[in-house]
Structures are given as C-alpha cells and as structure tokens.
C-alpha cells in the first residue's frame, strides 16, 4: 500500500460526506494511479447513494399535538417539569450508588476547601503569615538569604520530597506532611535568625567602602537581610504549596513594601490564579505604568529568575 493511501482515503471520505468530488489535484492524480484508492472512491459513492435510499425519514404522527395537550392537561403530570408519568423508570441501585458516591466526594471537597482559609485583603491571615508579620515587616528584597546560602534560590526553602515523589502515591502524601512541618520549621528558624539580627547580634549594615570589592558589600547586606522572611519569600512558599490565595496576598504585600515590576507581576499572576481579577489588573497596570516611566518604585532593579521570583 502506498503511504499516501490512508490520507487519500480520508480525503475521499470527507469529500463524500460533503457530497462533492475530491478537489485536491495530487489526490486525484494518486487515485488515477492507485486502484485501491479508486475502489475506495467507488465504495464511498455507493454508500452515499445507498444511504439516501436506505434510510427512512419518518414523520411525527398526526396525533402528536393532541397527545401533547393530553399530556399537559393530565392531572399531576410533569409537575415541576419532570418527565411524563410512566416514562422515566425508577432509579436503579447502581444509580443510587453513584449518587451517594458523588455526594460523598462533594462533601470531602467542601470540607477540604473549608480547612484552607484563603487570605484576602482585610481577612484574617493564616498562622505562617501572622508569624512573619508579627516579627516585623521585612525590609529587604526577596531571598537574599537563599542567594547567600545557595546559588539555587529554591534552596531558600526546604526542598520538598513532593518534588520527587510520585503524585498521588501514599509516599507522596506522607512526604507532603513531613515537608510541610519541615517548611514551617525552616520559616521559624529564619524568623529567629531575624530576631537575633534585630537584637544587635548581627553586623550592622555598611555602605561599601572605597576600594572594597562590591561583592563583599553585597554579601554583608545579604547577611543582614537574609534572616528576614520577606513577603515575597512567603509568597513563593505558598505558591509552592499551590495555595495561590495566600501567595497572592503575600506577593501583594511584597509589592506594596518594595514595589518593582517583578513583585507586581508575581502578585498579578497569583491574584489571577486565585480568581481575584481586579487585583491582578491593578498589579499588571502597575507594570505598564513602570514601563511607561509614569511611575517608578522599588529601590532596586528587579529581574525575574527562572521561577518567576523577583530578585534584585
């Protein structure tokens, strides 16, 4: 069989369905050479002609309208818009089982969704956000601590076994629980670090001295700011948990404090994912304003890393 034959057969079928001759020149030339495709064209013509002859076109009975009015006037018939009496059979046991399963699933989904309270502006934040906020608002760009510790910014938060476990497996679920605890511990550890810095144990922030390597100055600044859990960091944490509502809230806080297109973009992206379109539009409009030079905010030039997190 010529490799073109299956394609030509499809084209012939489509043309036959449209009641027209095949219109592609190359297919017509192929049909002239290929007896199999020529036979296919003949078969389709035969079927098409046969269908017009074989199929019935019955019409509704003369009593159609009268029967309809009788059904409408029947006492108690179709009350509430349900099917005519006697037409719909009782629900089978399988149907009931299916209904129960659907109801149970819906209940689980509702219970699960109630357990995760999204943080919206003005709403009560969850514990992690309260911890971070009560400890003082971060005043540094995103993830300097992570940048100082590891070239991979993802290292700023504990790498979760969820990244490697198969989704949906028991191992994945157990690993997820362990990782959540580990991530909370990491956040608290960073908060403690920040409190230590705030109490004066850390080196004061210094301007880079003349002749001193810029990298060293940056390192000092990073050391000081590393301890803080920034709103952007929290945003990333929540986003990694697929908690876009909390992530959007945290990113918006980061944007309000530090400004910058990257923070606005992250806030807009997660707000959009959370369904808060108004906030998303507000954030994206900020980016456009910045691009037009109408407004400039933020104390550093923000760029996006590979995960869409702003770094300065």
């Amino acid at each position: 069989m010529n490799p073109l034959c299956p394609w030509v057969e499809r084209l012939i079928a489509r043309s036959a369905a449209r009641d027209e001759e095949i219109r592609w020149g190359w297919a017509r030339r192929h049909m002239e050479r290929c007896p199999e495709c020529a036979r296919a064209a003949k078969d389709f013509r035969t079927i098409r002609d046969g269908l017009a002859s074989a199929l019935d076109a019955p019409e509704p009975s003369e009593a159609f309208v009268a029967n309809m009015w009788a059904a409408i006037d029947a006492p108690g018939a179709l009350a509430g818009g349900h099917a005519a009496p006697g037409r719909r059979p009782a629900m089978s046991a399988l149907g009931w089982a299916g209904a129960v399963a659907v109801a149970a699933t819906a209940g689980l989904v509702v219970v699960h969704s109630l357990r995760r309270e999204p943080i919206l502006p003005g709403a009560t934040p969850t514990r992690e956000v309260r911890i971070a906020r009560d400890a003082g608002q971060p005043d540094t760009p995103v993830n300097r601590q992570a940048a100082a510790e590891s070239p991979d910014r993802r290292g700023a938060l504990p790498r979760t076994a969820r990244d490697t476990a198969r989704p949906g497996s028991d191992g994945d679920r157990k690993a997820s629980k362990r990782d959540t605890a580990a991530e909370r511990a990491a956040i608290q550890r960073m908060l403690r670090q920040r409190q230590r810095l705030a109490s004066g144990k850390a080196a004061p922030k210094t301007e880079p001295a003349a002749g001193r390597p810029a990298a060293s100055a940056t390192s000092d600044a990073s050391d000081q700011s590393a301890a803080a859990v920034s709103w952007a960091e929290l945003g990333y944490y929540y986003e990694a948990q697929s908690d876009v509502s909390n992530a959007a809230y945290a990113y918006r806080q980061a944007w309000r404090e530090q400004g910058g297109a990257a923070a606005a973009f992250a806030a807009g992206r997660t707000s959009e994912a959370a369904g808060d379109i108004l906030s998303a539009v507000e954030c994206f409009a900020e980016i456009l304003d910045d691009a037009n030079g109408a407004r400039s905010s933020g104390d550093g030039a923000w760029i996006m890393d590979s995960r869409g997190i702003g770094v300065s």
Partner: protein, 195 residues
C-alpha cells in the same frame, strides 16, 4: 376562526408566540409546536434511531417547554431552546438505555422507499435490496454520535449547517462525523464482503 388565527400566527415570531403562550394562549403554543414538531421529531429520531421513542421524546420536550414557558427568556431564540431540550432528553434516553434501535431489526419504517411508478428507483439499480438492508443495519450499529448526522443528512436532507444547529455542534464537526461514519461503514462492508 382557529384557522384564521393559525394563519395569523404564521407571520409572528417564535418569541412573540412563546410570550403569548406563557400568558395562557394555547393557540399560540399550538402554532409553535406545529413549527417545530417535525424538526424536533427528526432530531430525536436521528439520535435515538426509534420512531416511538423519538415521538415520546419530542412530545415530552414540548410538554416540558410549555411548563417552563414562564422561565423562558424571550430575548433568546425559542427554536434553539426547544432543540436543546430535545437533545438533552435524547441523551437522557440513551443513558437510560431504554431505547430499542429499530434499525437493528432491519425493518424499514412503513411508507418509506416505496418503488416509484416505473417499478424501481435509480438506487435500486446500483444496490440490491439486501445491500440496502445491510446498510440500514450498519447505520444502526454506528455509535450515536456518528449515526445522528448520517440520518439527518441522508434521510431528512438537512444541510450541514442545519445539522450543526440541530445537534448543537460546529459545522466542521458535523462534516468530520459524517466522514468518520462513511469510513466506518466502508470498513464494515469490506469486512462483510471478505467474511
């Protein structure tokens, strides 16, 4: 009197008739049913493949529509509304598996394909009577979504655009399903010929 009112109804839009029917004008609703009963029936027949079930479903659709007239939004086309009720009822019927396919029996519906005055049709010279029965049976064996456009197009002569509107599908999908049905019928015939 009634005839005069019915002829008056011929110039009135569906939506106006529906509004009148919602206010209790039975004649207006009868005129609406008269406009759409054939279309509703043919669509139900194409989807279900059984005349009795098609009539029941079409009737039920009009009864439901009558009961739901107070909720009907006259800004929407009434024809599309009634056809969506028909389609939903057909799907319901297919799901309940309460449909017997008359096609499967191989019996033609009464009154169809009578020989012409000269004793034969042009098709009969091409395909023998048994081949027609086989073809009818093959169409009955098609999946519902492939059978409906075939029946509407070849039995009722509906255009692709009309079929798309009847079945609530894009026109390209209708052509694709027709082509798929043709290919399946050809394969089936080839298999029968070889066996």
């Amino acid at each position: 009197m009634e005839a005069a009112m019915t002829s008056d109804c011929a110039t009135v839009t569906d939506e106006t008739l529906a509004r009148s029917a919602a206010n209790g004008d039975r004649l207006a609703y009868s005129a609406l049913v008269e406009r759409y009963r054939k279309l509703a029936f043919s669509t139900a027949y194409a989807m279900l493949g059984n005349r009795d079930d098609a009539e029941d479903v079409a009737q039920e659709a009009f009864v439901r529509a009558y009961r739901a007239l107070p909720d009907f939004d006259p800004r929407r086309p009434w024809g599309a509304w009634i056809m969506s009720i028909v389609r939903n009822l057909c799907r319901d019927a297919i799901r309940r598996r309460a449909v017997r396919l008359a096609f499967a029996t191989g019996h033609a519906e009464p009154g169809s394909h009578e020989p012409s005055a000269d004793g034969h049709t042009p098709e009969s010279t091409l395909i023998a009577a048994e081949r027609l029965t086989e073809l009818r049976r093959a169409v009955a064996d098609l999946p519902d979504h492939l059978r409906a456009p075939i029946v509407l197009h070849y039995a009722y002569g509906r255009t692709y655009r009309e079929i798309a509107s009847d079945l609530g599908l894009p026109e390209s999908t209708v052509v694709g399903r027709l082509a798929a049905a043709m290919r399946r019928l050809r394969r089936q015939f080839a298999a029968e010929a070889s066996s």
